[in-house]
Symmetry: C2
Subunit: 235 residues, 2 copies
């Protein structure tokens, strides 16, 4: 099966969670907007294609299926790419964990955009400072502590007791947060040994290492989801 | 199958999306915290039960399965309760739509809590006013316009061409928003005829009508997700 991934050019964003799964599994896929430009997504977003209409990128075209929402895309891809356990109960568990990552990602986004996505960061900096303080102090320890516990319950090395798309997404979360909040993540590090080891192991998987070294991996930047604004970070 | 639903007492919140599905299908379920108190959830949240560990309520216990995240719970319940089409592609479409409702719900929550969930509304009122203006002007028309289009593509009466848990959730979204933003929803009403008709039809389904008239339906209030603060509303 050939897959077409649709996502904004120039940033990792939410599309990166899907890209990591496709790359890890060496799937046959096209990153369409990077070939044809962002406008290639419009016909889908305007409902001119058959299949489910996406609210926003990323979305995946697989044959006649169009699937949007990161956790939905990964729920679909998981069995096809061998990136989720086969039992239905474990697939549901993976879905739940991925949706919790979605929640964290939304909070990370709203940290630099606490008032409106449509406004520039510069127009909501005061509010962003206040929100970042709460994220650093309360929300990051709560979310990351939860995923650390999940790894422990999964035997220490995997969220689901075996390699899955959830592990790949946790790699991305840790990488993004370490770019965004280097000071805060350094003080949290001693409390997150399993997440840190997972991040290092995933980076060394051959297909992931090749991807990270390629030009297909866009560098973290301040147009993406995880943004490094030094004034929002603190130990 | 008997289901145990776990969610905070005293508010509708995210649990209500699950409750509406269980009520519509006349499922055999216990709303556990309402019987035993909120502390009944602790053992699950602390990872002392077998099964997947929830990050937060609501979560559902179905036999040995524990499932968290509204969209995950409804994805599981859908086929058991006859509340989703059988084809896998349609189940995925329902999941995607429900996740988009989750996104809207998170934005609605953050409108009265733009800085921190842990702070009182009164401590973030200034920021809430700014965020509410963006939600009213940009985000509500975008989200609700999308769901109006989805209904149109589904034949006018249903998001998925037949009754599903997505329709029940859209009923809840419309009901909550009309409580929260009566002025804004009145000006949007002419642009959302299908959503308004859906809301009216769902309210008249016998099991839903009985539920809404019962004491099991907690009234909307300012502890829940949809909160009416007059200063956040405007036409």
């Amino acid at each position: 099966m050939h897959y077409d991934l649709y996502y904004w050019t120039g940033l990792q964003g939410r599309g990166e969670f899907v890209r990591l799964a496709l790359e890890d599994a060496a799937a046959d896929y096209t990153d369409v907007a990077r070939v044809e430009g962002d406008a290639a997504m419009n016909a889908f977003l305007e409902g001119q294609h058959e299949g489910a209409r996406p609210f926003a990128p990323p979305f995946l075209k697989a044959g006649r299926l169009v699937i949007a929402q990161v956790a939905g895309i990964l729920h679909y891809l998981g069995p096809h790419l061998g990136l989720v356990p086969q039992a239905e109960s474990r697939r549901l568990q993976a879905l739940q964990l991925q949706m919790t990552i979605t929640d964290l990602v939304a909070e990370v986004h709203d940290t630099h955009h606490p008032i409106a996505s449509a406004l520039y960061y510069e127009d909501q900096k005061t509010e962003a400072r206040r929100r970042a303080e709460d994220l650093r102090s309360n929300r990051l320890p709560k979310f990351l502590g939860y995923f650390e516990d999940v790894l422990e319950q999964g035997g220490g090395r995997h969220a689901l007791g075996q390699h899955s798309y959830v592990d790949l997404s946790l790699f991305q979360v840790m990488s993004g947060l370490e770019y965004m909040f280097p000071k805060r993540m350094a003080t949290l590090a001693p409390t997150l040994p399993l997440l840190q080891a997972l991040r290092a192991r995933i980076a060394q998987r051959p297909n992931i290492a090749a991807y990270l070294a390629s030009e297909r991996r866009v560098a973290f930047n301040t147009r993406g989801l995880f943004r490094h604004y030094p004034e929002l970070d603190a130990a």
